[in-house]
Assembly symmetry: C2
Homo-oligomer: 263 residues x 2
């Protein structure tokens, strides 16, 4: 029987509101056993870019990252947000260890090739050092990742936090029974983003395809769900998408492979 690893990704409005963040981190702190946090921080980066007169350019929901923008996201994600989260977790007696993917070379990435869009200094995960990460987990640390990686040649890279969470979950799945949570301000995936009663309880690849074809699911959710399904298909034990409350009371959207959909 493999040991449990809870892998929490927090993002969206949770990071914007101190009370929300505190409650979410308190819930995370109280999870038993090994755990790992990944956090975003995009909105604060956009604010700082604006203050510094650096234009924020997005393509398909992803930040186009020139050298000046990379400095901003490194400052905000790895500095401001990561250390804020780490210090808050320690106040809750959770032994957080803040990391970027560069630290310990734990997440090695490659600069995304230029396609239809040139994303600039954006990285896609190539390799997770599961041995280094296990060493930290077994030593009692709670690795707390921001969404910055590197290429191993001295270049930092801006990397999507949802993708990092999925890649870490997939890499650790052979070693731990990994439970992956995408935690944000909504209770889960909504069939109609304007109707809070339209929460989808279970989502399998087939129903996901149908919802996508009907244009039901908010466009911003699609990359998150693509990452989430990829994790589930790669032997991550469970994947849930929801808020702290819906995850706590078991009503968050649970992703399922079609074969194990409850009859």
């Amino acid at each position: 029987m493999k040991e449990t690893l809870h892998l929490f990704k927090i993002g969206g409005a949770i990071l914007e509101e101190t009370a929300q963040l505190e409650q979410t981190l308190a819930f995370f702190s109280n999870l038993p056993g090994r755990k790992l946090l990944v956090h975003g921080g995009g909105r604060r980066a956009s604010q700082l870019s604006k203050t510094l007169g650096i234009e924020t350019r997005m393509a398909e929901g992803r930040r186009i990252t020139d050298a000046a923008t990379l400095e901003v996201v490194t400052m905000v994600y790895a500095g401001l947000e990561n250390k804020r989260v780490v210090s808050m977790l320690h106040a809750m007696h959770c032994n957080a260890l803040g990391l970027s993917g560069a630290d310990g070379n734990i997440i090695l990435a490659g600069k995304r090739p230029v396609g239809k869009v040139d994303y600039g200094l954006v990285g896609d995960v190539k390799k997770v050092d599961t041995k280094a990460l296990s060493t930290l987990l077994e030593a009692g640390f709670v690795p707390t990742f921001c969404a910055i990686t590197h290429d191993g040649q001295g270049q930092l890279l801006n990397t999507n936090a949802d993708a990092i969470a999925a890649e870490l979950a997939i890499a650790m799945a052979p070693l731990y029974q990994v439970h992956l949570y995408y935690c944000f301000e909504k209770d889960g995936v909504m069939a109609n983003v304007d109707n809070p009663d339209s929460l989808i309880a279970y989502l399998d690849p087939e129903s996901y395809t149908i919802h996508k074809e009907l244009g039901n699911i908010h466009a911003g959710m699609l990359p998150k769900l693509d990452n989430a399904f990829r994790a589930l298909e790669s032997h991550v034990a469970t994947v849930q998408v929801g808020s702290r409350k819906s995850i706590a009371n078991g009503t968050a959207t649970q992703l399922l492979l079609s074969t194990d959909f409850p009859k």
Copy 2:
């Protein structure tokens, strides 16, 4: 026989010039055995403060840190500079793990009491978790600290990098034979800052007092040397102050307790 630990503090102009920084990190990377880096980053923080319209206020060479300034130094020290140094070290195959004192609660600090000056959110080191730090060293990581700590209650604190280096060296001295290096752009302590031929080869507490009384030593060096002597008096094996080159060729200023001054 205790294992050797090389503890390098880099600061000053080294961080401002990429070529200087690369050469210094290459030298550090090639040191044998266990090692640990502490870096400053003050000048870049002052630049960002200026751009953001936040006034930089100093007292006795130390930065007065209000809430806005703490955000700036957390972004610059823990984000920009720490991750830049970490990614450069990995390109040199040095297994750097970037840390603030908050990470793993390794450096617990207390907010400096208000005296003649109210330094604001500035911390003085209270406790180093030598067990956590040893775990990281023994796992093959090269801890790479920026000058941010926390109070354990969720408050980050701006902390002098020279003091952090001394406190880490003192705390680790019972476990390792610690060699402490204060590495900056000058070859060592100068008896006359305007005369490059006035390098002081050996400095003991008595000669330090005389140089201070004569006003020979640059004021900015005094807190560094006070920290350095404190480390030496607390069983740190050797303490040197100099440049990469003078440290490499053995001509950096070596601090000595008067009892072991070469006859």
